[in-house]
């Protein structure tokens, strides 16, 4: 009988109760999630309580993993000199196999199968099963494999607990201090994109598996700990230098011939997001508007490569770190034409009047900023732009219970609340988004704010050809985002309230007319990526203004 099987069987017997409790927690989580898909449209109380239950169950799963995985790994510890297995004819490879199979099957495999089943019952296409399974397995592994690693470096649970806290604090300290102490060090924190997360997870799993292999092969714990420290520095560095598109399917590269990049006033702000008080970076943002695209299309600046500011032939400033993804706002003036284009012969009665989007294009330390502030230089960088257009995803009558499916999103009108000057529509959305990191031409990863440009709703009257955009300034209503079990964007249930208060704008509708509403339809507009293009960004006479002050 293979010794790995003996150890596996021993652990299975020894930990049968805790494994059963884990499976119970996983089963309940997926049961609640499955019920969510079935009852979301009908049971209001369930809609309210389900997210809380799922969040608690998700947290419970994480806690159980943090307790059970170390118990299993440490039942035959790789550290210390008193373990029973050390003087028995059991190879370390057999131990590793047994532990990996048990932890992998129980904590990754079974939840993965259940999750895929739940996704399939909620409309996951067959072609998406494999990518979804890979992504879910990777995501779970990126949490469980490091736990396994720390457990293999400790002999007792309290040691694991202390080592885990020390590891987290150490990583946070290193990631905060190093970029401040080492000028020019390329270091990336939490990635903001789906692909970045994917790369991060792959690196975490890869490095952790290597170190677990080293620990089980050699039992040289100190060396493995040195490896962990090196890995904690390597991963953010690799994330920074890895090309972001290395895993992604090639997106359609297009070359719009008549594109003109227009800019406006620059603005400088403190890096408030990272909260890194040691670095005190300054972020330079400028409004960028792309003209010359085909009608209905709009461009979003994806990233700027190699940005620099030249002050004469000898002095060149380079951006000191990564730039965060820009927030493209639905209220932006440049989105109005694409929205109107998608709606074709409907006339938008309440177009937004917001400013152009502003994109971060340069980052520099406070001291350097102080030195070069108000000096005139030349900004250069290679800008990559995503081109989008709006399409009508779903169109449904404005009545409770109306339901349409488009792409990966099912929209349901849960309620229509009439008001003196308008109407509020409660919309439930069920979104399956399991392979966005690999795929091309999909919808952009949407946020949850009312200003999110990736998808929106428009109220139209087919007979009168009138269209009203959702009110983006008054969006206080009920918004329930269900995050289960870990990721919100894999199978997301959202309930959002969309206010259309200005149905009398322009005088075409005076007050809320019952007949207008009776014939009204709700249209879901979705942004679709068409491709990317690159352009050199060169702005001469570029001046860093004062913080918070608008300058040309």
């Amino acid at each position: 009988m293979p010794h790995a099987y003996l150890v596996f069987e021993k652990d299975l017997r020894q930990f049968r109760l805790i494994l059963l409790s884990w499976l119970g927690a996983v089963g309940v989580t997926h049961g609640v999630a499955l019920l969510g898909g079935m009852l979301l449209n009908t049971h209001f109380m369930f809609r309210i309580t389900q997210p809380l239950v799922l969040q608690w169950l998700s947290a419970l799963q994480a806690v159980l993993i943090l307790i059970f995985v170390p118990l299993i790994v440490q039942s035959d510890p790789m550290v210390g000199t008193t373990a029973f297995w050390l003087t028995r004819p059991i190879s370390r490879l057999s131990l590793l196999r047994a532990k990996a199979v048990l932890v992998g099957s129980v904590f990754v495999g079974i939840p993965l199968l259940l999750e895929i089943a739940v996704l399939a019952l909620n409309g996951l296409a067959w072609k998406d099963v494999l990518p979804a399974a890979l992504l879910i397995a990777l995501e779970k592994s990126a949490f469980i494999v490091p736990v396994f690693l720390v457990a293999s470096l400790t002999g007792k649970f309290h040691e694991f607990f202390i080592a885990g806290i020390a590891a987290v604090l150490g990583c946070v300290a290193a990631w905060t201090l190093l970029p401040a102490l080492v000028p020019g060090l390329c270091f990336s924190g939490a990635p903001g994109t789906a692909l970045g997360s994917l790369q991060q997870q792959m690196l975490i799993v890869f490095v952790s598996v290597l170190l677990i292999g080293h620990q089980y092969k050699t039992r040289r714990t100190q060396r493995t700990i040195v490896g962990v420290l090196a890995g904690a520095l390597f991963i953010p560095w690799a994330l920074c230098v890895l090309p972001q598109g290395v895993l992604q399917q090639e997106v359609c590269r297009i070359n719009p011939p008549q594109v003109v990049i227009q800019t406006g006033q620059a603005v400088v702000a403190e890096d408030m997001v990272s909260g890194n008080r040691l670095a005190r970076d300054r972020i330079v943002s400028i409004p960028i508007h792309v003209r010359g695209l085909r009608s209905g299309q709009f461009a979003v600046l994806l990233r700027v490569s190699g940005p620099l500011i030249a002050y004469g032939p000898d002095v060149q400033l380079r951006s000191s770190g990564p730039l965060r993804s820009p927030a493209v706002l639905l209220s932006s003036r440049e989105l109005q034409d694409p929205i109107q284009h998608a709606l074709k012969d409907f006339i938008v009665m309440n177009p937004y009047q917001g400013a152009d989007n502003r994109y971060p294009v340069f980052r520099l330390p406070e001291t350097v900023y102080d030195q070069y502030q108000k000096q005139s230089g030349v900004y250069e960088g290679l800008g990559a732009f995503d081109i989008y257009e709006y399409r009508i995803g779903a169109r449904m009558p404005l009545v409770r219970g109306a339901k349409r499916f488009s792409g990966r999103t099912e929209s349901v009108v849960l309620d229509v609340i009439e008001k003196p000057s308008g109407v509020a529509v409660i919309v439930g959305e069920k979104t399956l988004n399991v392979s966005s990191a690999f795929s091309k031409g999909g919808a952009p990863a949407g946020g949850d704010t009312s200003l999110d440009f990736s998808g929106t709703y428009v109220l139209v009257h087919p007979g009168r050809k009138e269209a009203f955009l959702v009110d983006i300034l008054d969006q206080p209503g009920i918004r329930i985002d269900l995050a289960w079990p870990v990721r919100a964007d894999r199978l997301g249930f959202k309930v959002k309230r969309y206010d259309f208060p200005g149905l009398n704008v322009g005088g075409s509708v005076t007050g809320v007319q019952k007949s207008w509403l009776k014939e009204a339809e709700l249209i879901r507009l979705e942004a679709r990526e068409l491709g990317v293009f690159e352009r050199n960004l060169r702005f001469s006479d570029f001046v860093l203004p004062e913080v918070g002050e608008l300058r040309k």
Partner: protein
């Protein structure tokens, strides 16, 4: 002489501290080797290095002819190991422990296992964590004897046991040594525990092996000598180095000779001392030899 354990210049350091220094040890096949020394002498470190739990800093250890760092399943099927520090799978019952171990050893003797269980009166259906320390040691011993290993290594097996459990365990091992042909390497800080078992003895002091030989030759070599002189010694006479802990009072002189040779030694005494009236030669127990050795090393501040 075929050796089962062989160390050459074995040195083990933890940081700057030397725990074992240049240990050269040979354990002959079929012997019962008592590895003695006070607490902290380095006995457990030696054993853990032998079975590849620790790596030597320098030097080599060979077990059953294989370098300790290369020991694998094949060798461990021939090695039994019981230590006071070993952590058994606590959640298991003794029966479950035997069930777990059985498939690892093709030569597992189930009849022998059951006979040992009966002999030790071991409660096999209780979780190991609920057993007394003595019962845990018995369970560990059965799990290490039932496959009839060629080499049985016992690291302080009687430490902390009550007298009844100690006697049970010792009787069990003594009974087995009469019937089984195996090598036993047993460490202890208490000579009394093992003096009836051992036919070889090694004495470790502060990481250095001070002696390693058969109990027969050791007891032949170490003799307590009482000499009566006709007249008291007039001045301080330098005694030979092999006369340990010499004590003189008037006409009486006593010491321990660690190089005693019948006939030859008496001549040496008469030659070295003036007017010897009577020589009395007494044999010594292992415990006495152990204590004399320890006292001598302490006196020399080694």
């Amino acid at each position: 002489m075929k050796t089962v354990i062989e160390t050459r210049s074995l040195t083990k350091k933890f940081g700057a501290k030397t725990i074992l220094a240049q240990i050269d040890l040979d354990v002959p096949a079929g012997s019962i080797y008592a590895y003695l020394g006070p607490n902290g002498a380095g006995k457990t470190t030696t054993i853990k290095t032998m079975v590849n739990i620790l790596r030597p800093t320098r030097g080599t250890v060979k077990i059953l002819g294989v370098d300790s760092t290369a020991l694998d399943a094949k060798e461990f099927r021939q090695i039994g190991y019981v230590s006071e520090n070993q952590v058994l799978p606590e959640g298991m019952t003794a029966n479950a422990l035997f069930d777990y171990c059985r498939p690892m050893y093709p030569q597992w003797d189930e009849g022998f296992c059951q006979s040992l269980t009966r002999q030790f009166d071991l409660p096999c259906d209780e979780p190991i964590e609920k057993l007394s320390r003595g019962m845990k040691m018995k369970a560990a011993l059965i799990a290490s004897l039932a496959y009839r290993p060629k080499l049985l290594i016992l690291d302080e097996p009687f430490s902390g046991l009550d007298p009844v459990a100690r006697k049970d365990l010792m009787d069990g091992i003594m009974e087995l040594t009469g019937t089984e042909e195996w090598t036993i390497f047993i460490s202890s800080h208490d000579i009394e525990e093992v003096e009836h078992l051992a036919d070889w003895v090694g004495f470790l002091h502060k990481g250095q092996l001070k002696l390693s030989e058969t109990t027969e030759s050791l007891q032949a070599r170490f003799k307590r000598i009482n000499i009566t002189l006709k007249n008291p010694l007039e001045s301080e006479v330098p005694f030979p180095a092999n006369w340990l802990l010499p004590q003189q009072e008037g006409r009486f002189l006593c010491f321990v000779d660690n190089s005693f040779q019948p006939g030859e030694s008496e001549k040496q005494y008469r030659k070295g001392l003036p007017a010897v009236s009577m020589i009395e030669i007494q044999g010594m127990s292992l415990k006495e030899i152990f204590l004399i050795q320890a006292r001598q090393l302490k006196m020399l501040n080694i």
